[in-house]
Subunit: 267 residues, 6 copies
């Protein structure tokens, strides 16, 4: 099933897999049907790239609010593709570099991919790659032009490439023409109460009776915020109870959990 | 007829033809009367350049929405012109270069053309050559001034030149005075239901009874999106059916096709 | 008369005349009274510069819509002035140069002129010299400041200079103070039906009965567009009839002419 | 209790502690329950970082009006964390440097932290680190992109990091996406009349009967302004009485105190 | 009287006087009472600088529409001051230079002046020195800051300086704080019908009966435009009559004069 | 009393005092109670810095309209402080320098001050130090960030510093956060009729009967404009009477004084 598919790791990948694995450090849990659907469709694109003769280049954008699990999903598709070349392009490895240097590194990744018969390139957090900031707005047009061309340029004869982009700034990307440039767009949602319940059951840190109430309170949370909150609540009001909670000996105190929730959503 | 005209390739062209051929990788199919009309008019301009004494420079702009087939059309005219010098100027070969270097390369192409008695230069995706981005908007004024002058400068005595530009950002080009600078402007349309039907019949991937419904659903699509969609649908819901569809053994499942259509137009 | 005056070429000019002659390649035809009036007034300014003691510097701006014949007119005045130094400053010869280099070249032209007792300098397409683009708007303030000073600076004692500028961006030039800086401004008009008729009669490519209808259809055209259109129409619907038309054996088919007119004005 | 906790200094820290101690030169006094609550929650985050396996990176933003005690609070948490690496990143040590040099220094601090098993980094006055100014607004996008990435980048396996940011420009930080990037946000308040009374009682510079009136007059003051005001008032109208006040021999004249209050809040 | 005062030239001035004399090439004529008043007041400032002990620096701005005679007036005051150092700072001698070079040259002029016991510096056409252009607006802040400081900086002990600025862009100068920085501001007016009549009588190019009508038609003209117009009209409709007019043998044909007037004011 | 306090000069200061004395060249006269109050409060700050243990850094902003006497007042406080290091930072000594050089020089002044046990730094005309111009507005963010940090940075242990800033652009400084950064703000007013009368009596250039009328006419003048005006009026209508007025032999003619007043306030 979906969950198993997600968990299945391909260790024979070498260095590059490490990067991908770091994007889902805690492992993947089942986040509900809508996440599963996107995973499946993305895997169909993987197959399309593999078998198609007419489309040597397929591009797909995962957009959704911050922390909704886009990067983890893209990394999972990359790992599960079994393609010989899978690479994530992330601002983390280009910190503090000049925009033209970033450009060269991005171009290099594409040119390396052009040498492999089958490749996946993940453009993670495109707004960060573009050095986007809402005031202005400002961003690097040099990098943006480079990506716009790379997203349309066909690989050389016989080579095939799937590009997966992620972003939490859909409106910005639309306004600079990126959405049109990707063949397909998928929206990665926050978790609804149902999804949250599924996740909480897998994590098993609440008393059985508290799960429904907690799930309701966490409705419409991105998965990242959910994890942060649970870690905070697990410390207990006086600190010191985290070990017990994670080892299953104690459960999270639901009223302290509500307190933490207020701290996090207050502003 | 038109289709045959389009298909007729001039292999004796050398390296440059490769570039042109890459712009219409899957070959050309008949896209309906409106596309045909533009092709014919453009071929008249080719003749005008050849025979005229008064107009050594003719310039023509093909504009239309993204993926409507402008580049493929321009490449076909370039190939069919039989002119000794046919060159496409594209952002793809100038990726990551500084604007002044791009300028030099563009000027070089024009100066090479001035040495040939008859030339076609295709300025592909002018907004991309200009590094245009809608926010701001920003673009390279250096390149834009260079093109504005090149589009008015007469070739030396005895030399003749046809310049074909393509763009999907008509309003932008108008606002910076490019449309007036081109002698003629043609609008390359998206496909209407009739055009789509013609194309689908040639592709032969739907059951006979589904063609009309599919054509109706695809009304007002650019040809590129149409191709993407068909490739996606051809995989089948579970993957694996593409080969059978392309080889004609199976047809695309019309309801899965509708699903894919929703994915593509959802946003 | 005016036409003869225009046609009279001064071959003893040397290199510089070549540049001027290239601005009116097809020769000059009579474009009606309003064009003639501007020519005469400009020639009076030539005389004023020659004889006056009080005005060693006279500056005159020709403005009008794109293709209305401003450059051809200015070149004709330059040629007919019989002045020992006549020079056209055009963006064509400074393509791709940095703005400060352009400045130096422009200053050089003025300083050369200061060495000649009588000079004409044509600043052709001032908006292009200024690298003007409507979005922003952007333009080179370096070049604009340079021209503003040069247009006011008196030549050294005993030297006299007439500067003729041309532009199709009157409003822009007004807003940056250029119009005030020129002593006189003349508007070069598009052709009205009467003017067009005169031109068509001289070109002799329509059947006698069609001339009036064609002239009416071409009312308010700049002369450049008129020429483009006639060249297109002369090819005939199937191509191949241009030679016959130019040699006078055939006339342009009026209904094909209307078709071409639609292509050109459609957008 | 809280006050004692705050006062407890960890002298074995070396050079870096000096920097932290300079942020609370006059020592810490009890500023009321709301300040105490933030201190306690921040200390829970310290513990979370220490024991958690799932969250090697925790980020917390302290925002509040200018002079409300954010930096002193952050420094106290840093000192009380007992972590082997505690570092404050402040604009004071990077005065006049180019933005790229500042970037390198900030990156260096994070990379040093990645070498320690447990670290606290204080990003003090983030708007000043970003060279923010309200007109424009202007700020360094280079530094802002660097921080945005550093605030999301996980430390290497086995290393843990708590980042505490301070700012008095919440709206600006929100508009460039910093608030979302921090896991938790706390508002450091100005002092209400109750808080002020507590502080004044500890300082003991007013006559007993004047404390309530003074506290009321100082309602909604940031602690910094409170200190400034008391120092001014302590000089006395003619100067010279400060020593007596601080040594407890005299009290501040309440009417002169009101005069000084007017000077400070006049504009 | 005023006219004589204006005409009196001080030939013993050396190189610098040449520059000043070039600003009033045709000599000065009497332009009416308002011009005379400004001249007299400016000469009082000259005296104030000379005798005062308290004001070693006096600054005065002459503003008025383009061509109203500001530069000629300032030059006349400079010449008539009889001061040992009189210098005009003009964009003409700094054409095409970088703004920092212009700055140095301007600073140099002031430092030279600081060495002379009595100096006049004319800052001619301040908006041009500032490279001002209305679109944006753009201008050199480097030069503007330099001038703002120079206009307030006192000369060294025992040295005295009068600075006269001219501008036709009063509103711009006001908006960047220049008007406040000058101690006094004078408005140099265009000529009213009375002033014009005085000037025409001195020039003696119209028939006696035509002078009143011509003066009425020229009401509210700047003197520069008046001169231009008379030079044009003096050529006569067919050219060739200028010599006769200037030598007094013929008069300007009043109806041709009206024609020329239309040409000049048409736009 | 106040006046005497102001007049008392501390000659033992060395080079730096010269700079300060130049800021009040004509000596100080009594400008009324409001000026006196500010002087006294500023002297209390001087004392506060000297005796306080808790506030090693005190910052004070003098704002008021142009020419109201801010710089003279700040210089007087600096001189009267008797501190071993007193320095004025002024745009006059940094004319034409690049903003980064200005930064270094400003930082240098603070670092020199950090070596002295007691220091006064005057930041004169902060808007000019920041290269402020209202259009845009533009200013140097590099210098502004540097000052913002310097105004908060504590001097090293045992060193004490008073910073006095002056500005006539309060709203600008407020909008970039400078006003909040200064501990105290004082408004230096223009002179009211009463203040003017006091000044005029000290200057003794009007006939006794004219003083009241003159004072009324000069109501709400900054002291600088008052001085300018009196110097102008002292020349007399025909010039030449200044010596007599200053030596007390003549008085200023009140009606000529009104004329001059009109010249100065006309615009
Ligand atoms: N299905 C999942 N199961 C378990 N953990 C998950 C899952 N999806 C995401 N996570 C975890 O949630 C956190 C956020 O996920 P991720 O970084 O993929 O979100 P994102 O949408 O890329 O966020 P951002 O917009 O900030 O880039 C990560 O720590 C990730 O490991
Ligand atoms: N007549 C045709 N027959 C078959 N395929 C076509 C035809 N026209 C275009 N295509 C294909 O459709 C795709 C899009 O065409 P093309 O690149 O020419 O569109 P475009 O208008 O230039 O798009 P863009 O605006 O993105 O540059 C290409 O893969 C091209 O090969
Ligand atoms: N009187 C004329 N007789 C014949 N041809 C003319 C005449 N005037 C202009 N032309 C031709 O018309 C074309 C346009 O003229 P020209 O370049 O002078 O126009 P323009 O107003 O300068 O245009 P633009 O605004 O594009 O610079 C040229 O090919 C020129 O040779
Ligand atoms: N609890 C406290 N007890 C005593 N003094 C304090 C306390 N908190 C802050 N202060 C003092 O008040 C002053 C202002 O505090 P601090 O610098 O921390 O404020 P801030 O909010 O960081 O101000 P800013 O916004 O200007 O950076 C400092 O001198 C600090 O030492
Ligand atoms: N009183 C005068 N008598 C005769 N000629 C004059 C007089 N004043 C000005 N002129 C002439 O008129 C012309 C314009 O004068 P001037 O250059 O001083 O005007 P301006 O106001 O400085 O113009 P601009 O605004 O263009 O700088 C010059 O040729 C000058 O010689
Ligand atoms: N109290 C005073 N007695 C006598 N002269 C004074 C007095 N105050 C100021 N002045 C003089 O008035 C003039 C303006 O004063 P000052 O330069 O201090 O004003 P300011 O407010 O700093 O002006 P700005 O805004 O232009 O910097 C100077 O010449 C100064 O010497
Ligand atoms: Mg992500
Ligand atoms: Mg294309
Ligand atoms: Mg032209
Ligand atoms: Mg702080
Ligand atoms: Mg002038
Ligand atoms: Mg001052």
């Amino acid at each position: 099933d979906f969950l198993n598919a997600l968990r299945e790791v391909v260790p024979a990948f070498g260095a590059s897999t490490d990067d991908l694995e770091r994007c889902r450090l805690g492992g993947m849990v089942d986040c509900g049907d809508r996440h599963k659907h996107i995973y499946q469709r993305a895997m169909l694109l993987v197959e399309q790239v593999k078998v198609s003769k007419g489309s040597p280049l397929v591009t797909c954008l995962l957009e959704g609010s911050s922390g909704s699990g886009k990067t983890a999903l893209a990394a999972t598709v990359g790992i599960d593709s079994d393609f010989p070349y899978v690479k994530i392009v992330s601002a983390e490895t280009m910190i503090g570099l000049h925009e033209s240097t970033k450009c060269s590194q991005i171009i290099k990744v594409f040119e390396d991919a052009y040498k492999s018969p089958l490749s996946v390139i993940i453009l993670d957090d495109i707004e960060r790659l573009l050095e986007y900031v809402a005031i202005g707005p400002r961003f690097s047009n040099l990098i943006s032009q480079t990506l716009l061309v790379l997203l349309k340029r066909l690989p050389p004869k016989g080579k095939k490439l799937l590009v997966i982009g992620t972003t939490s700034q859909l409106i910005f990307l639309e306004s600079i023409g990126f959405c049109d440039t990707f063949s397909v767009n998928y929206h990665v949602p926050t978790l609804n109460a149902n999804d949250v319940k599924k996740v909480l059951q897998q994590l098993n840190v609440f008393a059985k009776d508290d799960v429904d109430a907690a799930a309701e309170a966490l409705n419409d949370m991105p998965i990242k915020k959910l994890y942060t909150l649970i870690e905070m609540a697990a410390q207990g009001e006086q600190g010191g109870s985290a070990e017990a909670v994670y080892s299953g000996k104690e459960k999270i105190n639901i009223s302290h959990f509500y307190d933490c929730l207020q701290d996090v959503v207050r502003i």
